[in-house]
């Protein structure tokens, strides 16, 4: 039974003491009463609603928005603060030591921290169903909306918990300050959400497709959210079990990349087969995102490299062998692997869209040269971090210059070729031009490869030092 989980019980004790519970319930009921009263006034005296059905439908959607605030925003704040609170409260070691599986810990925190939210959400769900039925909304649409709400809540909460394990904040910040900051940024979004609530029903008639399967767009979005929630939960379990290791294992990184490409390919499949260049471009663009993000979540440090090349218990290892083994273990190799997966999928979609493959292969090559420089910058940061912690700022400045300076220079000097040196400019230039068969890219790859020389040499130097470091450590032992 899920409620036998000791962590849920622990949160039940601390969060659901009668006084706290009553305060939450009274505030929530007051909001509900206020909302109903305002709508009644609007209906009775302002004549905003033409019929009672429209009034009920409107109230139903207003409760849906309230539910969004409760489950997506309040829930995310709760889940996101769980581990941070344990760390700042110095009780995290006890949590780690509990003889509970990582799964039980994850469920315990996600459910336990959100017990009050779940109680309030149940009240809202009942009201949504009641007003939805009074507004003669179809059961299927209500079920779809609730399914969407819950699946996105699962995604948001699991990502929030994962980030609280991964990015642990040492100093406890004021909760009020955090809330103000969140509302400052999310406020306009919430207001917009309220305004667009009435248009929410437009999704009712839209169908999406996954390969050849046609599905209501809400169901499709929910399934995608659940898919990524699963990855997020896998991440949580990994971080509970192997805290000192990066979020993605190598296998996990490749699998996530393949899965991501598969999901995206499935969603765009029917349009790709119709030969749309713009859809092919969209696929290229969206599928590029993980090859930029995954290496950041899979960083192995220089210390990891030194530990991995454990010469101490080995008899004879040559320095060349060490260099090669370091490369296989490195973040660079992962970057290449991810790019190969992306390139294979990009070639696949281009062939499917029946576009000129040769020109697109050239585009992939240009992109590779740009990506290579970025991944070398990342590796430069990794291998020089033990030398100076400031290297991060240095690398970030170079990356920013690489992204922005060519855009400015190309505009000032009116040289189009410069634009394509920046990855942003390159992507803009690759946008399918309706007047031309294929976008022509300049030979910017030469400049990119020239840029790679210095970081490449510096990285090689640090890789070579691993052998000597291990030898020195072996002698000391």
């Amino acid at each position: 039974m899920i409620f036998n989980n000791p962590l849920i019980r622990r949160y039940r004790y601390s969060l659901m003491r009668p006084r706290q519970l009553w305060v939450h319930l009274i505030i929530h009921i007051s909001i509900i009463v206020l909302l109903l009263y305002v709508n009644y006034i609007a209906y009775e005296y302002q004549e905003i609603y033409k019929s009672t059905t429209k009034l009920f439908i409107s109230i139903c959607y207003q409760f849906l928005i309230l539910q969004v605030v409760i489950l997506w925003i309040w829930g995310a704040i709760n889940s996101g603060s769980a581990i941070t609170k344990e760390i700042t409260g110095n009780s995290y070691d006890f949590l780690r030591m509990l003889p509970l599986s990582a799964g039980k810990k994850a469920v315990g925190i996600l459910v336990g921290k959100n017990l009050i939210i779940m109680l309030l959400a149940v009240i809202d769900f009942i009201l949504i169903i009641i007003f939805g039925k009074l507004g003669q909304e179809s059961n299927s649409w209500l079920a779809q909306s609730l399914f969407f709400l819950l699946s996105v809540a699962l995604l948001i909460n699991s990502v929030a918990l994962l980030s609280s394990i991964k990015f642990t904040i040492k100093k406890k910040k004021s909760n009020i300050a955090t809330l103000i900051i969140i509302f400052f940024f999310l406020g306009p979004f919430i207001i917009r959400l309220v305004i667009s609530a009435m248009n929410f029903r437009m999704f009712k008639s839209i169908k999406g497709s996954f390969f050849n399967i046609k599905l209501p767009v809400m169901i499709l979005s929910s399934l995608v959210a659940i898919y990524f929630s699963c990855w997020s939960i896998i991440g949580i379990l990994r971080k509970f079990n192997k805290e000192d290791e990066p979020l993605f294992s190598r296998t996990g990184a490749y699998l996530f990349m393949i899965g991501y490409e598969f999901v995206l390919f499935g969603i765009l499949y029917t349009r790709l087969t119709q030969g749309a260049r713009i859809i092919n471009y969209s696929f290229w663009l969206i599928s590029l995102l993980p090859i930029l993000a995954i290496p950041l979540w899979s960083i192995r440090s220089y210390n990891n490299y030194i530990e991995h090349i454990g010469l101490i218990h080995r008899k004879s290892v040559s320095s060349k062998n060490v260099l090669f083994r370091t490369f296989l273990y490195s973040n660079l190799f992962l970057g290449f692997g991810l790019f190969v997966i992306w390139a294979a999928c990009a070639i696949g979609t281009t062939s499917m869209a029946q576009l000129d493959l040769q020109s697109y292969l050239y585009m992939i090559f240009v992109l590779l040269s740009s990506y290579l420089f970025l991944i070398l910058l990342l590796e430069l940061y990794v291998v020089y971090y033990p030398v100076s912690s400031k290297v991060g700022i240095f690398v970030a400045v170079i990356a920013a210059v690489y992204f922005i300076l060519p855009l400015i220079l190309s505009d000032i000097l009116e040289i189009d070729m410069l634009l394509q040196i920046s990855p942003i400019g390159l992507i803009i230039e690759m946008f399918p031009n309706p007047d031309e068969e294929i976008t022509i890219l300049n030979r910017t790859w030469i400049i990119n490869l020239l840029l790679c020389i210095i970081p490449g040499l510096l990285i090689h130097k640090q890789y070579s030092q691993i052998f000597n470091t291990r030898k020195k450590m072996k002698t000391n032992t």
Binding site: L7, D93, P99, E307
Partner: protein
């Protein structure tokens, strides 16, 4: 069967070797004092044993379970008190202990009785319905031990349990630890305040620079390190004459003379000690105390550390 078996464990953080090829084993009922200066690797070693850190290499078996593969089973059977910890401030003592009891799968029916037992043990029964946040630091530390006791583990790992406590709280905690030792529990307790460990450690291991430089039963190590005996001689009068006589005896060195108390270090058998006592009396000195001063862990630590330092300088 050994309760703990450590074979060549090593923990590296890049080029820093925090624990360097440490090996030892422990039988049930032993109380091991892990002593060493700050940064010696005590906390890292305890965190490895507590399954919180993974060793870079080497193997550890706790209660026959492999540390790398069966860490969940190990966690069920050990109790680890970290150096800086806090319990759940928003729970009462009873709720807190109930949480630990359920997490460690103590039989549901026996939980209330177990909680009472533990609260009595740590002498906090009167605070059972208070929130943890209302406890003093010393009480929280005792409560920390209580949280471990609730599932009655086979091995206790206590990392600097008395650090930051006032003398009264330290004495209270010491009494609890003595009780544990007296009950035959297997305990590893780390500290750099050596008086904390005196009196209830059966074994000690001295750590320095990630290595265990000396280990064994307390008496064994005392004998190894202190080949000479410390004797305290108290005389009623003629202190100067007594000092002269002692100086003339073979293998005796005077450490200090305070009022009428003479502290000496001597490499002698029991017969030779008796002869020295007779010599003083026959020379008209009224001896009212002739006893062997006990060397405590503090002396032992200083002695080992200084010999380590001398060895280091010699090699250098």
């Amino acid at each position: 069967m050994d309760i703990l078996e450590i074979n060549n464990i090593r923990k590296e953080y890049g080029t820093v070797v925090a624990v360097n090829d440490v090996s030892f084993s422990m039988s049930p009922g032993q109380v091991l004092g892990l002593i060493g200066p700050n940064g010696a690797g005590k906390t890292t070693l305890l965190r490895i044993l507590a399954t919180v850190l993974r060793p870079t290499s080497g193997s550890v078996k706790i209660l026959g379970y492999d540390l790398k593969k069966q860490y969940l089973k190990i966690r069920k059977n050990i109790g680890y008190l970290p150096d800086f910890f806090n319990l759940y401030n928003d729970l009462t003592l009873r709720e807190c202990l109930e949480f630990f009891a359920r997490a460690y799968k103590v039989e549901t029916k026996s939980i209330p009785a177990r909680i009472d037992e533990v609260l009595n043990y740590i002498e906090l029964s009167h605070k059972r319905n208070d929130l943890v946040r209302h406890l003093s630091r010393g009480m929280v530390q005792r409560m920390g031990v209580g949280a471990l006791l609730v599932h009655n583990p086979d091995l206790f790992l206590l990392d600097e349990p008395a650090s930051g406590l006032d003398p009264k709280a330290r004495i209270q905690l010491r009494e609890i630890l003595k009780k544990l030792a007296g009950e035959g529990k297997t305990v590893i307790i780390s500290s750099h305040i050596l008086t904390e460990l005196s009196g209830f450690c059966t074994h000690i291991a001295l750590m320095n620079d990630g290595k265990i430089v000396m280990q064994g039963a307390v008496e064994e190590i005392q004998q190894k390190v202190f080949e000479t005996r410390k004797i305290c001689i108290s005389v009623l009068d003629n202190c100067e004459k007594a000092t002269e006589l002692i100086k003339d005896s073979p293998n005796a060195d005077i450490i200090s003379v305070k009022n009428k108390d003479i502290m000496i270090e001597i490499n002698a058998t029991e017969q030779e000690l008796a002869d020295l006592n007779s010599l003083l009396i026959t020379n008209g000195i009224k001896v009212y105390n002739f006893s062997e001063a006990k060397t405590d862990l503090e002396d032992l630590f200083m002695k080992i550390s200084s010999s380590e330092e001398q060895e280091f300088n010699r090699v250098k």
